[in-house]
């Protein structure tokens, strides 16, 4: 039996603030979450996004950030963890300072999972983790295997060696003399040169409509489709035509039984890497055409890795509820090779009520979810 799947709670910690409302308000206002990070001074990359509300020097910072987002989502939903599953990604291991202290991502997940019911699944598909966790939770709830799950991810990778590592892979934007740190990440812009790493956590309570109804909880939005795919192409770059991304979006559409014309806005992965943005734009053109409003959060909050898909889903939900698509911060001169209906400069009132949110992981794992305004 197939169940309708709804979202009944959200929690978000991002460089724009420690609540979903702060994230949304910051996006609409065009605020910058990316700043020059003092502890990175002297490196080739000093821009990044910090969650300022949480102490920066804790080795268990990933767990603290994740717990806060999860608790906020559970509180809004009115659920308790013991009767709820957890599908979560905690990005990579955490290292701090000298002498170096190391904490594994798996240990973080195990601590988070201890108070939850079943299933408890640690999702690990790089930048697609948050979206894949939501999609997998959606599948479990829709198939009736579980009534509710918390899904999402957290990330505290804004450390020296991850910056060095991603810089070596030509993924992060190195500093440029005279350019403010908040301009580092420019998704789809002709002058883009990579992303800004950021910390964050995003959590969603994903629940069957029957379960929410029994509890008397009004859904925030509805999840209607999920698709995933693998590029099978290269460890560091997608194919230029975005073939894997096309498959993920087409599978999400097929899963939702919706046609491309039903999609009224795209919450893009939009990292600001040269090849990634071209591949994504090509994929969106192929599946949805060039006339659907497209927005990326990463110019404003940076790349929060395992949290990215969850934070983006939370922004997509706000679009479904309000009809407003936030602008892609720092997008000034759209690249001709990324020709789309970009939302630039200011939020756009579109009336959109159905949004696809996509994530494409390094290594080639792709995930797409379709969210819709809830109508009973």
């Amino acid at each position: 039996m197939s169940h309708r799947v709804v979202i009944t709670g959200t929690g978000a910690l991002s460089p724009l603030g420690a609540t979903p409302a702060a994230l949304w308000r910051g996006l609409l206002d065009g605020r910058a979450g990316i700043r020059s990070v003092a502890r990175l001074a002297g490196l080739e990359v000093t821009s990044g996004g910090e969650v300022g509300e949480i102490a920066l020097d804790r080795i268990d910072r990933d767990e603290v950030i994740a717990t806060r987002a999860i608790d906020d989502a559970l509180r809004e939903s009115g659920r308790d963890a013991a009767t709820t599953g957890l599908l979560w990604g905690t990005a990579l291991d955490t290292y701090t300072g000298a002498p170096m202290v190391h904490r594994s991502a798996g240990a973080c997940f195990t601590t988070l999972a201890a108070r939850f019911g079943s299933p408890r699944r640690m999702i690990a598909v790089a930048c697609a983790t948050g979206t894949a966790a939501i999609g997998e939770a959606f599948r479990l709830v829709r198939e009736g295997r579980v009534q509710a799950c918390v899904a999402g991810g957290s990330s505290v990778m804004l450390g020296r060696h991850y910056l060095f590592g991603f810089h070596a892979l030509r993924a992060v934007a190195a500093d440029v003399a005279g350019e403010p740190a908040d301009r580092a990440c420019k998704p789809f812009d002709r002058d883009r040169r990579g992303f800004a790493l950021a910390d964050g956590a995003g959590a969603l309570v994903i629940e069957s409509l029957e379960s929410a109804g029994r509890r008397g909880v009004e859904p925030i939005a509805e999840l209607v489709g999920y698709g995933s795919s693998q590029d099978a192409f290269d460890l560091n770059r997608p194919p230029a035509d975005g073939g894997g991304a096309v498959l993920a979006m087409q599978r999400a559409l097929s899963d939702s039984q919706l046609g491309p014309s039903a999609i009224e806005a795209v919450n893009a992965h939009g990292t600001g890497t040269h090849v990634g943005d071209i591949a994504e734009a090509s994929a969106i053109q192929t599946v949805l055409g060039e006339h659907v409003p497209v927005s990326s959060l990463k110019g404003a909050i940076g790349h929060t890795m395992a949290a990215a898909g969850a934070l983006e889903a939370i922004a997509a939900i706000a679009t479904c509820r309000t009809g407003v698509v936030p602008p892609t911060r720092n997008l000034v001169h759209p690249d001709e090779a990324c020709r789309l209906d970009h939302v630039i400069g200011a939020p756009r009132e579109t009336g959109a009520s159905c949004v696809v949110s996509v994530s494409f992981g390094m290594g080639g794992q792709n995930a797409a979810i379709i969210l819709r305004r809830f109508v009973s």
Partner: protein
Amino acid sequence: MTWLVASAERTEIGAVRDGAPALWRELRRYNAPVQLAVAAAHEVVAHARLPAEAALVSLAPCQAGSPDLHRWVRAVEEGSAQRMNPTHTLHSVDNLGLSVLAIALGNHAWGLGLGGAPGMFWVALELTCERSEPEVIVFGGDQGSGYDGTDPEGVALLFSREPAPHASLGRTVKLVGIERRRATGPRAVIANAAAGARSMLAILGDQPPGELAYRVPAMHGDGIDDLVVTWELG
């Protein structure tokens, strides 16, 4: 219902390097758990009907990284290095094995990486039961410590919706299901992505025909649940 039709275990890097030079050229850049996991996966892939369409479930190492990676991390964190080798950066990536195998197989199908928390192998078996693809490949690797790379191991299992005897055991091995019960208290575990699978595979060949309720040793579980895997052996 799904049948375990092939399984493979690898513990010797040298055997991969010397015994499969073409594969080694593909794997030599990666860390030992990924090398052995993917090498094991290639063994079971030889028994798959349509490996490019199989669902893939990878298990990230619980003991992540490599000696090379940790040397870089220490140097960077202590301020004595200003760059990192991009190849060694990949050793920190938890979906590396999944990406490497998908590329090798030209596989665009559903695939999922499970992170390096204890007990994820049993989640992989649950996913195997949930998926509808004709074949599912579960694979993962680990090591005693990411700092010194000791005791690396890799394991892979090929499941099929079509009943068929296990390639090396010569008998049918049907996965019936996985049952979880909350343990009465926390359980001490060994955080290792491959050890639990290898321990279970070791006994499948010796059991009499019929139903086998395999009680997962607490040390191979997730520290939260007691787990029973039910098999039907031909």
